[in-house]
Symmetry: C2
Subunit: 396 residues, 2 copies
Amino acid sequence: MSRAITKRMQNVKPSAVREILKVTADPSFISFAAGNPSSELFPLDALREYTARVLANPASLQYSVTEGYPELRELVGERYGKGYGLSKPGDDIIIVSGGQQGIDLAAHCLLEEGDAVICENPSFIGALNCFRTYNAELVGIPCDEYGMEIDKLEAALEANPRVKLIYTIPTFQNPGGTTLPLERRLRMLELAVKYDVMILEDSPYFELSFDGTITPAIKSFDDSGHVIFAGSFSKIIAPGIRVGFVIAPDWLTSKMTVAKQGADVHTNGVFMRVAAEFLRGYDVTAHVERCRKLYREKCGLMLTEMDAKIDKRVRWTKPGGGLFIWCELPADKPSAGLCETLKLQKVAVVPGVAFDTDPDNLANYGFRLNFSVPSKEQIVTGINLLAKGIDDYLAV
Amino acid sequence: MSRAITKRMQNVKPSAVREILKVTADPSFISFAAGNPSSELFPLDALREYTARVLANPASLQYSVTEGYPELRELVGERYGKGYGLSKPGDDIIIVSGGQQGIDLAAHCLLEEGDAVICENPSFIGALNCFRTYNAELVGIPCDEYGMEIDKLEAALEANPRVKLIYTIPTFQNPGGTTLPLERRLRMLELAVKYDVMILEDSPYFELSFDGTITPAIKSFDDSGHVIFAGSFSKIIAPGIRVGFVIAPDWLTSKMTVAKQGADVHTNGVFMRVAAEFLRGYDVTAHVERCRKLYREKCGLMLTEMDAKIDKRVRWTKPGGGLFIWCELPADKPSAGLCETLKLQKVAVVPGVAFDTDPDNLANYGFRLNFSVPSKEQIVTGINLLAKGIDDYLAV
C-alpha cells in the first residue's frame, strides 16, 4: 500500500537534525547539534504558578476559537504588533501551535504544487521540509556573513516566474547565525513588491540579541501587505508549550484560520492562557535580558575557544544573538565526513547538507554549532575535541 | 494579493458550526449546537495534580520527538492497541494534536489534488473541510439509522477510480448519532481491501457508550493494513489539551511523522505527559463510566421530551452513546429556515447543510442536536422551545 503515499510526501526524508539528536542521546557525547533554548532559562516558577491559575478555570480545557485565545491575541498585538511595529492596517494576528505551524499554514494557503519558494541557502530544515511536503521547488540564494546575498535575489525572482514566497530568517539566522542588514531588508521588501510575491519572515530569535540591538523587522517597513511575520514563544518561554503567532494581512490570516481548523482546531488552550499570563503579568523584558546574558557568555566563550584552537582554514560567523554559529571547512572538504570523524571524539555537530536546499548536496562543507544547550565546561571541552577532530579530518 | 491563495483554499468556508457558536455565546440562548463534551466531567483535580507533577521536570518544556512522548505511545498501545485490539503486526502509534490532526496528516500523506474521499453524508464538518483544503472530491454515501448504507459504498467505489480513502465515524457518528453494525463494518473492510483503498476510522466517541456495549472497531478486524484509527483524549480527558493518537501501518505513520515535523514539530509536551499520567495512574474506566452515566441521562431526557413534544412528522436517531442526535424534517422543509425561526425562540441547533458533502445543498432537511453541554433544565426548556419553533416552521 505504501505506493498510496502522495508524491509530495514520497521524497521528504525525516530531518537529519532529529536523527542526529537520537545519536547524541548518549550522555557521554558533547552535543553542539541541538536547536533548543537552554532549559536552565525556563521560567519554571512562573510557569507553575500561571498553569495552576489557568487550570482553576475549566474553560481553559474546552474547545477554543481557532484564531486563538482573544486576550493572548491582544497582548501579542501590544508587545509585537505595536511594540515592535509589526502590525499594519489590514493585518490580523492568529495564535499558532509554534512558529512551525505558521510556516505550514502559510504554505498550505499560498503554495500550489510546483510553485517555487526562495530561501536562504542554508536554511532551517523544518521550513525546507515543510515546503517540500507541498511539492514546492526550493530556490536557494547563497549567503555571506550578513545573510542572503540580495543581488542574487532579483536574478532568482526574474528567472523563476513560479516563485510565490520568499522565506527568510533575517535575524540570527538558523543555521547561519547571520543578521540581514537594514538596507538588504529594505531591498528585499522592494523586490517582493516589484515581483508581487509574499515574504515569510520567520523570526523566533530576534529578541535574543546579545547587546540588545534589534534590527527592525522587514514587516515593520511593509505598507503594501507583502509580509507575513511568524513569531514564537519557544525561545523566550519554552518550546514544549508549542505556542507561536502570526501577524499578516487579514485576507491571509482568515484563510490560515480555515486551514488551522482542519489542522488542529486550535492551539493548546491551557498554554495559550499561560502565555497571556506571561505577557500580562511577568517581567518579560527582564527575562529576555537573562536569556541574552547567558547566550552572550556562552557564544563569547565558544568563539574565544574556537579562535584559540581551530585550524585557521576553517571560517565561521560571529553571531549578534540567537543560538547558532555556522562554520565552513575548506571548500574541498565535505562536512559529512567531518561529522563521522567527530563521532570518534564523541562530539556532535550538524552537517550543512541538513540545511541545504539540495538535500543530496554531499559536497556541502558547512556545519552548525549550537551554543545555547551545552554548559560552559562542555563548550571548552567540546571545542577542544572539535579542533582535534578537524585537525584529523583536514590531515587526511 | 488575495488572488495568491491556493485553489484548494479558495473555496473552503469557515465551519458553519463555529459561526453558530459565536451567535450562541449570548447566554440567554439555549444551545443544542455545541460539539463539546460537558465541562462538568473534566477530571479537574487530577489534571491539576498531574500538570504540577509534570512541570516539576523541565524536560516536559523542551522540544520532544515528533512521534510523541514514548511512555504515552506505550500506554496508548496497552489501552487501545492491545485492550481494544487496534494494533496489528506492522502497525505503529503516533501522538497527534487532537484527533483532527490525525485526519489532517492522513490527508496530507494520502490525497493528491483531485483524489476522492468517500464519507458518510452527513459527516463531521472538520474532516470534510480538511479534505477540501487538499482539493479532494467528497463522495457522500447516504446514511440510514445504522450509518452508512453499505450497498451504496461498492457502487461509489466502482464509479470513482480516484477514491483513495473511505472516511468513517462508525460509532456514535457525528452528526448522525448512529453506530455501524458489525456486519456493515466487515463489509466495508472487505470492500476497502477489494478496491485497495484505505479506511480512516475516526473514533473519538466510542468509549462513551450508554450501556457499555462497544461494537469492535473496523481496525480490530484488519489484517491487511488498510485501516487508520484516529483516537482522541478530547472526550475522556478534555478537548483543550489537544492530544490524540493514530494507530496505523508503519509505512504510513512514518510519513505522517515527517508531515507532523513540518506541521507543528510535536504535540504539547506537558499534556502528552499529563495524558500518560492519566493512563498510568488514574481510574480511566471509572471516569468513562461517569461520562457514560451523565450522557445516558441527558440523552434519555432529551429523547423523552422530544417524544412528548415534537411534531410526529419529524424523525430522529436514538443514539447508543456519544454526544449527538440527528433529526430530519419532512423532506420539503429545509432545516436552514428552521434555524432562523429558532433564533426567535433563542434556541440554537446546527442545520444539516453544515455537515453535507455538498456545502451548498440548501435543501438539506436535517439538523443536529447536542445533549452533552446543556443542563437537564436547559434540555427540558429548550426542547419545548424547539417543539414550538418546529410547529411554527411546519405551519408556514
